[in-house]
Symmetry: C2
């Protein structure tokens, strides 16, 4: 045990796995970096965070997380610039959001100083896992799980907060076609859709598999009551460009308040593009597709950055999107990545440097 940090106990790996990894052929989220953080909550308080070698942990089969899905997570990325400096993107947003998610799932909030100190400790130890170059990053997955043993359906009295990291390249390796949900739904009013709650994702797998069988990689979810309004998509918020305007749904208790989404809104407005944050009707988008006004549809999220959709399916009809020059999707992706990789001015103060040397 070495202690380089005031508040964290650190155990370094003796056997780095970095040389076993083919960084040119990464499958998203499959390989974890050398170190992780764990911190246990017991008797009403969080214990000392520990950074230690990534590896399996013993879990009792009666542990609450397996039975009642009491778990929330975050997704963020570390980027390396050409000078070897390491940057996070708006990390305080992820920190705030995991505690918002935690509250809705009756999970105790995690202390801010532990979160940032743990991130910096791991990134320092695992800095060689972050490769420079646009598209390369270290995906960071903070998550909390209920660890009390016992199968009564009530909140856990014990939790484990964990941070693991996975080197990443592009999330989608092929172009994305989507289908608009008309039967299944992702979340209810008064439910947990706005939280990054584990169960929200498993609930999407079966309808997404049905979509895949028809050749669509993702589902754009609609409101559960009427299926008339477009909401979000897998692990992305969705933008529609109609004419020169950019449309996206407002966040509510069914939709995740995405950090990429709010950054794109800011970048677009800064760029003089008119952005309408309002309910977007399926009918309106189908109409716009028919009359040629619909120029682009793209998804936006940390893992995938910005992903242009090739087309969408609605009511068994496929609407192909045009190929536009100067697409908003690629323009704002470039602007976003230029900030993330320290290649452009950071006028919004979004970059957060992690000193790794």
């Amino acid at each position: 045990m070495e202690t380089q940090s005031k508040m964290i106990e650190i155990t370094k790996t003796k056997n780095s796995r970095i040389n076993e990894v083919d960084f040119d052929n990464l499958s998203f989220g499959k390989v974890c970096s050398d170190h992780m953080m764990i911190c246990d909550y017991k008797d009403g308080k969080w214990g000392t965070p520990q950074v230690l070698p990534y590896g399996p942990m013993p879990m009792e089969p009666s542990s609450k997380v397996f039975h009642y899905g009491q778990a929330v997570f975050e997704g963020m990325k570390a980027f390396k610039d050409e000078d070897g400096k390491v940057w996070l993107f708006r990390p305080e947003q992820n920190f705030n959001r995991i505690n918002i998610s935690a509250k809705r799932l009756a999970i105790p909030e995690f202390p801010k100083e532990y979160f940032f100190e743990a991130l910096e400790t791991i990134l320092k130890l695992d800095k060689d896992w972050i490769k420079p170059g646009k598209g390369n990053s270290l995906y960071i997955r903070p998550f909390v799980i209920g660890t009390e043993n016992g199968v009564s359906a009530s909140p856990s009295s014990e939790y484990r907060f964990i941070i693991i990291c996975c080197p990443a390249k592009a999330y989608y390796s092929s172009p994305v076609k989507v289908t608009i949900a008309q039967q299944y739904s992702r979340s209810a009013d008064g439910g947990v859709g706005f939280a990054k709650a584990a169960g929200n994702y498993a609930a999407q797998f079966y309808p997404t598999n049905l979509a895949k069988e028809k050749g669509y990689q993702q589902v754009i979810w609609t409101d559960a009551n009427t299926h008339e309004y477009l909401e979000e998509c897998g692990t992305m918020n969705v933008f529609f460009r109609v004419g020169d305007k950019l449309l996206t749904a407002p966040t509510n208790d069914r939709i995740l308040d995405g950090i990429t989404r709010k950054s794109i809104i800011a970048l677009a407005e800064d760029d003089g593009v008119e952005v309408e944050v309002r309910r977007v009707a399926v009918k309106e988008i189908v109409e716009a597709a028919k009359n040629g006004e619909l120029k682009e549809v793209f998804g936006a999220g940390t893992a995938a950055t910005i992903v242009p959709f090739l087309g969408f399916d609605f009511n068994e009809e496929y609407y192909e999107l045009p190929k536009v020059e100067n697409s908003y999707g690629s323009k704002f992706k470039t602007k976003l990545q230029d900030i993330q990789y320290n290649m452009a001015e950071d006028k919004f103060d979004w970059r957060y440097e992690v000193k790794v040397d």
Copy 2:
């Protein structure tokens, strides 16, 4: 390793924990019996089920269940009669239901013969954990979790099916008051409410905590769209006795198709009680409470059996339920338990004997 069963590998415990357990003071779900079953799914098929001593299992932090809540479960009970014979109650219903739940969560179905052979093997080994006497039982928790390592938001390619058992007495130790949901909701149309999906339960914890702060142990969920219709409650379906009629909500894709519920409907009809399975409006129940027509409200589920509610809260007003003689709740609880404990004729063929000697 001993093999007493054709299809299951059995490893018996060398150190039974049974003498450490105070069977008169059990807290629901806290203590597990000596043995459990695990069976792993890999490369597209289920491997050999293993019955082995209950204990921790190593899990990688990147295991899908922690991130995406891909997990479903069941709840059933084994009962012992005065002759030491052991009985399950309609176990094929639980088997069918876990596969219905699994399908919705994109989890592969589990083979029927493994399920029953595993149950019988565990109950034989742990028969002394089942105590005779009404109210005593061995609660059985079959569950499946996604175990592939990797944090991409897609269905797991590997799973573990597990069965653990917990000796149980009454679920609720004190009388239950409930509140009617007007803001939060449990599930959406087109969602996973009808499945015993892990995430459905964590989603209830926070609103239930808010209810508890006001003195109510549970929330009766209403439809997410309008909050006008009564649905279910924690881990129970709900019955309302208005005059001499018994009302309960129909099952749909938001409501679990409870085995206790359908058994009570059958017992009531057999007893000449008129049962209406139809949407039950909050307004109607509040009216009935005001004019004295509402005689009873009770919850029904495997863990809790039948639990009479003392009263309910709606719109910040508390409606106390009358004390009725010959209550339906206690009558059908007696009839149900008499069948479960082999104390009455089993005209519906619900009992399933497990040969433990």
